[in-house]
Symmetry: C2
Subunit: 214 residues, 2 copies
């Protein structure tokens, strides 16, 4: 059943598009959407990924579950949308004027997020239960793809300014920046702080400037 004010999950599937480009939404539709996404995050924080249901989310948000299904095709789409939105709010994409400043802000934002409660909660959800809930692997990849799409302009601007060689692959640069931080949290259980973030910037820039990423 199409809805004139907020058609399906469309805004969810193009989260990189600036709000100004989206079709104007009626206040009530946007409020329902926000309430459902908040309820999803709250449910996720309280239970296992596999245990989260659209019924439970709808109950918590105070809406009927058909309202949820009108906007999101399934549980995983809902979770991806909720976590993508949370990450976008928690780690804004910088535009400081230099590639070093931008990468430093990105890496430090990621370090704070990984070390904070919302990062810890998201990671716990996204890395557990992969066996029981195969959709989680695709959801995780889609959430990171969204981050990547949002962060790539940082590298494109650096190439335009002549700070990085033309032909460098923006996605590879952003992944190289993020990888050592996730690695510390997930594998070596070392703390991630500003110093770790800054080291990741130095390593990523050196590699990018010397042809490692394309």
């Amino acid at each position: 059943m199409p809805e004139p004010d907020l058609p399906g999950a469309a805004p969810a599937s193009v989260p990189g598009r600036p709000a100004a480009e989206r079709r104007p939404v009626v206040g009530r539709g946007e409020k329902v959407r926000a309430a459902v996404l908040d309820a999803t995050l709250a449910e996720l924080a309280e239970m296992r990924y596999a245990a989260l249901t659209v019924d439970g989310v709808a109950r918590r948000a105070g809406v009927h579950k058909t309202t949820v299904y009108r906007r999101w095709k399934d549980r995983d789409a809902l979770i991806v949308d909720a976590l993508t939105g949370q990450l976008a709010a928690d780690i804004p994409i910088p535009d400081t004027g230099t590639v070093e400043g931008d990468l430093r802000a990105l890496a430090r934002g990621l370090a704070s997020w990984l070390g904070g409660p919302s990062g810890a909660a998201v990671l716990a959800v996204m890395l557990s239960e992969a066996v029981q809930a195969p959709g989680i692997v695709e959801a995780r990849a889609r959430i990171f793809e969204d981050r990547l799409r949002r962060a790539e302009p940082v590298v494109e601007r650096a190439v335009e300014r002549g700070e990085l060689p033309a032909g460098v692959d923006p996605a590879e640069v952003i992944k190289a920046l993020a990888a050592p931080l996730y690695f510390r949290v997930l594998i070596t259980a070392e703390p991630v702080d500003g110093a770790v973030a800054d080291r990741a910037v130095v390593a990523t820039l050196a590699a990018a400037r010397h042809g490692a990423f394309g």
Copy 2:
């Protein structure tokens, strides 16, 4: 109760020490040890980390559980030892004569392991259930520390040969090499193959040569 042939978990706690330096062991003790470690891996492959018990391992290995406790102080020590041994066998430390050859062999070994059944099984165990089984986080860190200790000579030899600047931190180099591979498996769900491994080598060497790691 001390055992003359295989004192406590000592060989487990110094796995980097070459076999020749260890005290000679009586055949039976070594056989029991191998049977218990094999049983641990088999139990881990069949059940959740939290569900693994020393009783179950002993039963599968055909030994009494006091035999297990004589060699390992607890369940987590047993799991660390079993997984450390498996990793050491699956990803040997190379000595090809050049830092590029060594890092390439290491990264490709890790890529094969991460993409193969034993890597997938170990990762699933080590990344799930962190909430229910806090010991798992420390176990994971200890397993990686063992890998790091084994791999550091690769970097030390590179510094001796003048291929990398003196003062480079061997641990940081090895972590930089491994991070993008784990990141692909754990976060973006991209395949890791020889090409990904080789790109990690190029990026790590460029960063190491340009002062990113110390």
